[in-house]
Amino acid sequence: MKEITNAAQFFLIVDFGSTVVHFFLLNCNSQNTIVHGPVEIPTRYFRKSDPNVLFFQGVSALEQSAKRKLIAKDILIVSQETNRSSGVQRVVLISGEEFYPQLSVSEIALKATQEESLEALFSHLSTLQYCNSLLDIGSSATRYFYEGNGQNKKLIAPIGTGASALYVLRQDAQSDLLLRWLTFEMEIVLLENVIANKSVTPYIIPYLEHDLEIELALVREILRTTIPADYDEERAGRNVVLSGAAISRYPNPNLIGLTYLDGVEPEGVNEIYIDTAQFATSLGGVIKRYPELVKDVTLSEIFPHILTTVTVSGTFHEGESLGQAFINFGFDDNQEIKLEAGNIYHIPSAAQTLTLEFSFTHNAFIRGCPFESDANKSVIKKIKTGKRGLIIDTRGRPLPLPRLSAEGRERMRSWIHALDLSNSL
């Protein structure tokens, strides 16, 4: 942890999500931004015990991990003085109104709802041109905040990966759709029950490999069924921040990128940023209440740029040759990739600016990237890669979905294998 400057502001943020309560300590100063946490406690625990006791246990755990004294004589230390070596300057509570009367900090806390917090965050991010869309795939709802036709838009779909996961199963056909995203065989009745039980016990941790695959299959179908009609209207790609429990806790961000590609089917060049600490709502809550105090927050540490994706569009069939991609990393030699329709290519070039040159031999193109000349159908584009590099997607649009068969499962495996090179950030 770095030195605390005189101007440091410490925020205790408690986000009472519908499934899990997150405790964060945000240290904002003129030089950097440090986020401590999250400390997580399932929300239902607050209904099974004294919420105030549990609240202070959460703060205490945060105190220990941040190595900063936050509680003295069972009282939360809150002071407006910024040069203190203990306590916080502000307390922000997000949602969880049912618990406020029982919390002994409610008098001094400022409150915000999850929706207004995320809206404030997106407004902040888009003003800074950090991104032009924010997707929060939560436990009880999926929230889209995005720019379109020069306006900030939002859509809240009441389907999520936890408390409202059951509603994904409203139609028989939906279960088949979910099943096709899995690399292993599973009885459809069993899959339905596993997903339905997520709405009964949304706080449980998917600890087996298959659990995570099911979770991402669910995310894909949620995205496919809830995506706003005008989300990809301009079809030239987006810079998107992805948030939500299923996203943040997923250990392999490459597969989050694949899930986004499968669920949203974006075209053009897209930059994917991930809310790795599940801090989006909390930061939004602070921005909503104290915009001037967090204007210098280092966004790249909170929402790191993980991947850049380039989608090759056009009319082609699987296996057809589409031409070549030449990647210039700034050295003399270019890396050449022969592009074949129906594939995913991962270039693990961490956080670099590189020049991509596509030379298409077929009816292929990249949305938003005009050809250098119609004669040779070449595209040259400077691209900033994410921490996990670059993905070139030649599977086509609309995406040919994997079938419910051994062949379909093999196809899913090959897509995952193309990206599943390593398991950490």
């Binding site: 004294d50 246990q57 029950n193």
Partner: protein, 395 residues
């Protein structure tokens, strides 16, 4: 970057983090080791039970009064419908002449066979009569057209207290709120409206309810048992006028075929409660024991709150009342009995034999606090603390 080097970095990071935690938090105070108590059975809870007439009527008790379960606390009359007749056509007379032919006045009680109107012709030698085909209340509806109506005789509906307790509120000549002590069995999911009946155990906890378990003698009862209630069982129960089913689980596919919206407040003519969740789920032994104990007793199934309410008798109630519920959270310890909340062991129980002091990386790659649980037969498995609930604790 190779997989090996990345994993190495990850593990080191995890180690750093866990060392921090170990220094700072004694394990018994680590919030990550908190586990909720399984609340499948909550004995002696003070609860206000709302007894409700189907429509406004007369309430026979007063606020503050103590009532016995068999006490009738109110009455209302339901009208099961009416029939319309055209007396003018039946008697073959113009509508304006009907009033002089009426034998019964509008609003009077009539019984099957009573003469309601009579028209005598030819000095009384020929007569036409309108005879009531049912018991009911006669009313003229439209004298200009000669139409009359007989409302079926209202059926008195007596509201029984059902519980021993004190009347705390009366609402709108329709509801009686009785404060009482009950035992509660809580479930994972419920569907339908509140219903009541006599509890009848129809199957053991480990087997699915079979068609042969159901017969006409179960009409009006709340049946319980079994690890699964399927669509056919539910439909047969509806046909037999069973009021509710409490079972271990239900396949979401069967549930959807009954309630297409999957909205639990939608009623399909029967109230359902699953103690474990969706899919096959054995009712825990501790709950089955309670159900067995209260077999043939009056119960209320409240799917909205996912609970089966077992009102206690006068004596039991006095003996057992204990007021406020204690905290239902505990720090996990060795030797406590826990229950799995997730497949592949959903609903199974085991004993904690080892608590991992640091977060561990599970096969999915997710890092979380875990414990080793030993199940019957000696099988051991390591699971995240959050995926468990405590069945028996030693606090």
């Amino acid at each position: 970057m190779t997989m090996k080097s990345n994993n190495f970095i990850r593990k080191n990071k995890a180690l750093e983090r866990t060392q921090d935690n170990r220094k700072s938090l004694p394990s018994e105070k680590n919030v990550n080791l908190l586990v909720a108590e399984k609340t499948g059975y909550i004995p002696s809870v003070t609860k206000v039970i709302i007894r409700k007439l189907p429509q406004k009527g007369k309430i026979w008790v007063k606020e503050g009064e103590t009532v016995e379960p068999s006490a009738i606390v109110g009455i209302s009359h339901s009208s099961p419908g009416f029939r319309v007749f055209n007396i003018s056509e039946i008697l073959e007379i113009p509508p304006e002449k009907i009033f002089r032919c009426l034998v019964k006045s509008s609003g009077s009680k009539v019984f099957k066979g009573d003469v309601i109107a009579e028209d005598k012709k030819t000095f009384g030698l020929i007569s036409r009569q309108f005879i009531s085909p049912i018991d009911g209340i006669f009313e003229m509806v439209d004298p200009n057209r000669g139409q009359a109506m007989i409302q079926f005789m209202p059926i008195p509906i007596k509201l029984v207290a059902g519980v021993y307790g004190q009347v705390v509120k009366i609402v709108d000549e329709q509801e009686v709120h009785i404060k009482t002590t009950v035992d509660l069995i809580t479930g994972a999911l419920g569907s339908g409206i509140e219903r009541e009946g006599v509890l009848r155990i129809v199957a053991d906890s480990h087997e699915a309810i079979m068609m042969t378990n159901l017969d006409r003698s179960l009409a009006g009862s709340v049946i319980a048992g079994g690890s699964l209630m399927n669509k056919d069982i539910i439909q047969k129960a509806i046909a037999l006028e069973v009021r509710g089913i409490v079972s271990g689980g239900i396949n979401v596919r069967d549930y959807r075929s009954l309630v297409s919206s999957l909205n639990p407040i939608e009623d399909v003519g029967i109230s359902l409660m699953a103690t474990e969740g969706y899919g096959l789920g054995e009712i825990p032994f501790s709950i089955m024991e309670v159900l067995q104990k209260y077999n043939n007793r009056f119960v209320i199934i409240n799917p909205r709150d996912k609970e089966l309410i077992i009102p206690l008798m006068n004596e039991q109630s006095r003996k057992k009342e204990r007021g406020k519920l204690a905290s239902q959270l505990h720090y996990i310890k060795n030797d406590v009995t826990v229950r799995f909340l997730k497949s592949p062991y959903l609903g199974r129980e085991g004993k904690v034999v080892e608590i991992k002091k640091d977060p561990i990386i599970f096969p999915s790659g997710i890092e979380a606090y875990g414990v080793v649980v030993e199940m019957a037969g000696g099988t051991r498995t390591i699971v995240p603390v959050r995926n468990l609930e405590i069945v028996h604790h030693n606090d």
